[in-house]
């Protein structure tokens, strides 16, 4: 079953079209990189995919449930399939790495246990294993704001791993990281797909990071999908075309 299926997603801000009929399919275990120049609509696409913003038109199916049509508690349930990785990490600064991973488990832990910070041993064990997956078990009890940016982003990935999400949306996850941290973060994202069968959609603005990370590349320009290629066919010339000012359609 297709994990994420987007058809004709269209959105405008104050009359200015930002997304024009975007189509996108992502399978479980697949990593799709979304690239394109600034202002192409990458951020809006991600806000619409998470339903933080409701797109004006289109279909947004997550494992067959159309998020566009859902409201209230049905929407809340359907969104549990989504895991978000943000450019700004969005960890609770004054909680430990382990506690931040446990945030991914909140829905399945009774409220009194959350309030008293008494998580069941099984949940703590699961969180510890998720931290181990991203190579940060040694930092389990370190406060989030004491970790480096790359480490914080890997904790955020462990948080997604701990949650029930089967579709991971990462909006510019390495935009503020140095190259070494960036590749560690992308490796952790890659492993979400390869080792855990999650569908990963990740926007990047450094096109050279695509190789060895993504299975497919989707290029956005002016709110349109202008290319959709297997990652090994996304070469320097194609990238230059995408970012050049004169629009020159490229497609698979």
């Amino acid at each position: 079953m297709t994990a994420l299926s987007v058809r004709g997603l269209t959105h405008a801000y104050a009359g200015t079209p930002v997304l024009r009929a975007v189509d996108l399919d992502v399978q479980p275990g697949q990593v799709v990189a979304v690239v394109g120049p600034s202002g192409a609509g990458k951020t809006t696409l991600f806000r619409c995919l998470t339903r933080l913003v409701r797109a004006d038109a289109g279909v947004l199916e997550v494992f067959g449930a159309d998020l566009q049509q859902l409201e209230g508690s049905a929407l809340r349930d359907a969104r549990r399939e989504l895991g978000l990785v943000f450019q700004s990490y969005n960890l609770v600064r004054r909680l430990s790495a382990l506690q931040n991973v446990l945030v991914g488990r909140l829905a399945d832990v009774p409220a009194w246990r959350v309030v008293l910070r008494r998580f069941p041993v099984a949940e703590q064990d699961l969180a510890a294993r998720c931290l181990d997956q991203v190579g940060l078990l040694a930092f389990a009890h370190t406060r989030a704001d004491r970790l480096s940016g790359g480490q914080q982003q890997r904790v955020a990935i462990a948080r997604v791993l701990a949650s029930r999400a089967r579709v991971v949306l990462a909006d510019e996850p390495v935009a503020s990281l140095d190259p070494a941290s960036a590749s560690a973060v992308l490796a952790a994202l890659r492993s979400l797909a390869t080792d855990h069968g999650k569908a990963v959609v990740c926007s990047l603005h450094q096109v050279d990071l695509v190789a060895g990370f993504a299975d497919r590349v989707v290029g956005l320009r002016d709110g349109r999908v202008v290319l959709d290629l297997p990652a090994d066919r996304f070469d320097a010339a194609t990238a230059r075309d995408l970012y050049s000012r004169t629009p020159e359609r490229t497609s698979a």
Partner: protein
């Protein structure tokens, strides 16, 4: 300066002239100044400000000052007990306010309660409480529960509930919304997300606000006794009524020392928290 000018050949003289203010802008500026002045003069009249009366009253005040020396020490133990009562009123009242304000501040903050149907009435309620001074509440409670410090506690608690709820909700709104959004996406309910992702980050600022309001309430509690709501204010009123100036001087000194100590202590604690 001259170096730059010589090298680049530009300066004030070559800067484009400042755009002239329009006649309308100048007229409305003068109108604003004149209206402000007229308002202040009207206020002076309404407030019965009369320098002559002040001058005539000064000798009386000076006479009292002379009579107040030396401050009496015979009632010091009673006064210290009353001062402790004042601190107790403020501490208990503020503590009640914390318990009442914590759940409501979540409902009053935009980031945690996007729906206006809940948030706006909660804000109105908090603003209403904040709008009535603790002194006024105490006046009402003295009539309802009788004379004594408990009426003061209730007055402080209700007024502080309003201020604290508002300030707490503002510090929630100042937090980045990302961690909360990430937690809400897991489908966890409001109580769990707020207590686990919001509380740790907001705790330093709300404890600072709590201490500040406690400090403020200790000052506010010193006058509650005037309406019969307990504390050192009651002694203050008695001393003024009986024209017992040496005793009045002692009371004022006790208040001064108490307030200074609390300010210092609270300031230090808040610095440690920041």
């Amino acid at each position: 300066m001259t170096d730059v000018q010589e090298r680049s050949g530009v300066g004030l003289t070559t800067m484009p002239p400042r755009p002239a203010r329009s006649l309308r802008a100048r007229a409305s500026r003068w109108l604003l100044i004149l209206t402000g002045l007229a308002f202040f003069v009207a206020c002076l009249r309404l407030a019965d400000v009369d320098p002559v009366e002040l001058a005539e009253g000064l000798p009386t005040l000076a006479g009292w000052l002379v009579q107040a020396f030396p401050p009496s020490t015979e009632a010091l133990p009673t006064l210290l007990l009353r001062a402790a009562e004042t601190v107790a009123i403020a501490v208990v009242g503020t503590a009640f306010a914390v318990v009442l304000a914590l759940p409501l501040c979540v409902l009053a903050a935009r980031s945690t309660t996007p729906s206006g149907w809940v948030r706006v009435p909660v804000r109105l309620f908090l603003n209403g409480l904040r709008g009535v001074d603790a002194f006024v509440f105490a006046l009402l409670f003295v009539a309802a529960v009788g004379l004594g410090p408990f009426a003061g506690v209730l007055g402080i608690a209700l007024h502080t509930w309003g201020s604290m709820g508002k300030l707490f909700s503002e510090s929630i709104e100042a937090l980045p919304s990302g961690p909360l959004e990430a937690a809400e996406l897991t489908g966890a309910g409001r109580v769990k997300t707020a207590s686990f992702t919001l509380l740790p980050d907001v705790l330093p600022s709300i404890s600072g606000i709590g201490l500040y309001l406690l400090e403020f309430n200790i000052r506010a509690s010193t006058v509650l006794g005037v309406v019969g709501a307990g504390g050192i204010g009651q002694e203050l009123k008695n001393a003024v009524d009986l024209l017992a100036f040496p005793r009045l001087a002692t009371i004022l000194l006790v208040i001064l020392v108490m307030v200074t100590l609390v300010d210092q202590l609270s300031g230090r604690l808040r610095k440690a928290l920041a």
